[in-house]
């Protein structure tokens, strides 16, 4: 016990001559693909920034923790980052449910947390609508994404009857489903089948798909994470559901092709970034060079990469390695030119303003840019 205390104490006292940023990533568990890519992208960003002189004259240091796709591990990890490693801010996680769980901890301790792809509104705003001072995000939110999904289904694709298959255990999935259903109705559509499953546990969706087939839906909406969506798509095609249009949200990832193969053709996805975006090519090239691997989870990669740049900029504007000053700088971000977008933060809810949604179409083995949408809310 004494040894443990000595070890912990020593590591905390070392190195206050770097700028420490905690990184909350799912390195194992169902979200491992997303998390590993995020961490690598963040480390790439930090390296680039350090080569150009670092921040406030010091080197940026990323302190990673694996939350194993489990919220309780995330809460523990965040505590440790804050108190042991004494990080100045935290980037991650990619999941809304995770950041909602860690929000009380970071807000109590006064350490900013930037969610990369955590789109549920409750990440930055609490149940009473009050903004959480230390919770931020770089992505757009689910009400917005739900509108885009509904717009895509009803207006772009002209579908009237939607079926939804969502993950009951995932905040993101529940939220996106609610917003989709609401806006789809406003656009004149009707949700004819509403089915659930347990993410991380269920792998067989034939029962639900059979019901969906029976409901006469002409579009299937999947507000989930990659692995389950790929299995759903694969099983749907196996059940002979070839004509059903399948669309989904930003849980899309390239690894889905490994699982579902050809079944992915003809599916559409709402997302933050298109892989062909010229502004992102230098990043993809640098990633490939450093890691000898395609950045398959490109959304996570891009958003993680830009989160580091955003934070570095905020620290620079704050002028000192102080948690509160950094928070204030994050909140007052206006017209910051990041790689994938221009970022302005709304101080009332900490959400990025006016971000375009990109629609991707799966064609010939890859997701390709289809259209940009910014529907009126």
């Amino acid at each position: 016990m004494v040894m443990a205390v000595l070890v912990f104490g020593a590591s905390a006292a070392m190195a206050q001559d770097t700028i420490k940023i905690g990184y909350l990533a799912a390195l194992t568990g169902d979200w491992a693909a997303y998390g590993q890519t995020e961490l690598k992208s963040a480390q790439l960003a930090a390296e680039e920034i350090n080569t150009r002189g670092g921040v406030l004259g010091k080197k940026l240091e990323i302190v990673p923790y694996d939350f194993r796709t489990r919220a309780e591990d995330a809460v523990n990890a965040v505590r440790r980052m804050i108190e042991q490693d004494k990080v100045l801010a935290i980037i991650g996680a990619n999941g809304s449910g995770i950041n909602i769980a860690t929000a009380p901890v970071v807000n109590r301790a006064g350490v900013s947390q930037i969610g990369t792809v955590s789109t549920n509104p409750l990440v930055t705003v609490d149940n009473n609508g009050k903004v959480r001072p230390y919770s931020f995000r770089i992505c757009f939110t689910d009400p917005y994404q739900g509108t885009v999904l509904a717009y895509l289904a009803a207006k772009e694709m002209g579908k009237k009857k939607a079926a939804i298959l969502y993950d009951v255990g995932n905040e993101y999935s529940q939220g996106l489903r609610e917003f989709f259903m609401k806006y789809f109705k406003e656009y004149g559509g009707q949700t004819v089948s509403d089915q659930g499953f347990r993410g991380g546990v269920d792998v067989d969706f034939r029962a639900q798909l059979t019901e969906i087939r029976n409901s006469g839906a002409d579009v299937l909406v999947l507000p989930n994470m990659g692995k389950e969506m790929a299995l759903i798509i694969k099983q749907a095609r196996e059940l002979g559901m070839k004509d059903l249009l399948i669309i989904g949200g930003d849980g899309y990832a390239e690894f889905m092709w490994d699982i579902a193969g050809e079944a992915m053709e003809g599916t559409y996805w709402v997302n933050h970034v298109a892989p062909e975006d010229p502004a992102m090519q230098p990043f993809f090239a640098a990633y490939k060079k450093k890691y000898n691997d395609e950045c398959k989870e490109f959304v996570n990669g891009v958003l993680a990469y830009d989160s580091v740049y955003w934070l570095a900029d905020a620290i620079g504007r704050a002028g000192k390695a102080d948690r509160k000053a950094i928070r204030d700088a994050l909140e007052s971000t206006t017209n910051l030119h990041l790689h994938h977008a221009v970022l302005t933060v709304d101080p009332t809810d900490h959400n990025p303003k006016d971000k375009d949604a990109v629609i991707l179409e799966c064609k010939d083995g890859k997701a390709r840019f289809f259209k940009k949408i910014r529907p009126q809310q």
Binding site: A33, Q36, G196, R198, Q208, E211, N214, A230, I259, G261
Partner: protein, 293 residues
């Protein structure tokens, strides 16, 4: 009507995969009288060997399948030798075997987490999955039919082995009473190794089908808990019971998910377990554990 037929087919197909796993599990129970929680590990081993062989040596499913069955069988025997044999030679307490098996299942799963990483791997599509229309009533996938057929073939082979071969006779004797079988001259250690080998092979077949259908990842072995429930419902220690229990379970799951609610699916599974244990703990075909005074 179409939906009912579809859900029935879904259920039987799922049940057949459970059957492969449950039978191996029940076989071990019938001899050693303990629940081998590491059984799921053999499944995963089978799946990964098949995957690596397919990617390394080309898409010959027979070679890959053969190797993975062999590999899983050997792994099962090794598990027994390393973890269970030392315990059962020392003591009668099955609790220790149970905990050791729990430990082994964690070890096997995490070896794969470390070596193979958390990513899901899809097996190359060597088993056809195209939709097949049945009697105009319903559509299922060629895969489902294939898994049914394969399960049937392996289970029949097992039955023949047990009924017709010399070692099969030995297994039946040992299932009745291990000590006496030993006294009668049967090489007990060899017998146990054979039983584990068979269990490993069956688990591997199940593992290959599961990984093709659901992608391969280290925690795939978790599905064995359902097979385990099936074995209990059918009667621990009874092989036909394991098959019947598996089919019942597969059907119960699909019918619940289809007609009631997909969330309640697992609840039905575990309720089935609890009800069986309360009403008739020995399951449908199991033997009664006698208490010797």
């Amino acid at each position: 009507m179409g939906t009912l037929a579809q859900q029935l087919i879904n259920g039987i197909s799922l049940g057949s995969v459970y059957a492969l796993i449950a039978v191996g599990y029940s076989l071990v129970y019938s001899i050693l009288l303990f629940s081998n929680f590491a059984h799921g590990g053999f499944l995963v081993i089978g799946g990964y060997i098949c995957y690596y062989t397919l990617t390394a040596l080309g898409n010959n499913i027979w070679v890959a399948g053969g190797l993975s069955l062999l590999g899983a069988g050997i792994a099962a025997v090794l598990t027994e030798r390393i973890a269970y044999k030392p315990i059962r030679e020392r003591t009668n307490i099955t609790l220790y075997l149970l905990i050791a098996s729990l430990g082994m299942s964690i070890v096997i799963e995490n070896i794969f987490v470390i070596v193979a990483g958390g990513r899901f791997r899809a097996l190359p599509p060597v088993i056809p999955t195209n939709p097949v229309h049945l009697f105009g009533l319903t559509t299922t996938s060629a895969f489902d039919l294939l898994s049914l057929v394969v399960a049937f073939v392996f289970l029949t082979a097992l039955q023949l082995f047990i009924v017709k071969s010399k070692w099969g006779l030995a297994i039946r004797a040992a299932a009745f009473d291990l000590k006496t079988a030993g006294l009668m001259g049967i090489n007990v250690n060899m017998l146990i190794s054979i039983v584990f080998f068979v269990a490993g092979v069956l688990a591997a077949v199940g593992g290959i089908f599961l990984s093709v259908r659901y992608t391969l990842y280290p925690q795939l072995g978790g599905i064995t808990i359902k097979a385990f429930v099936a074995a209990v419902v059918g009667g621990l220690g009874s092989l036909p019971g394991a098959v019947v229990g598996s089919l019942i379970l597969g059907l119960a799951e699909m019918l619940t998910a289809g007609f009631i609610s997909s969330q309640l699916r697992d609840l039905v599974v575990f309720s089935l377990l609890v009800i069986t244990l309360l009403v008739k703990p020995t399951g449908l075909f199991g033997k009664k554990p006698t208490e010797k005074v």
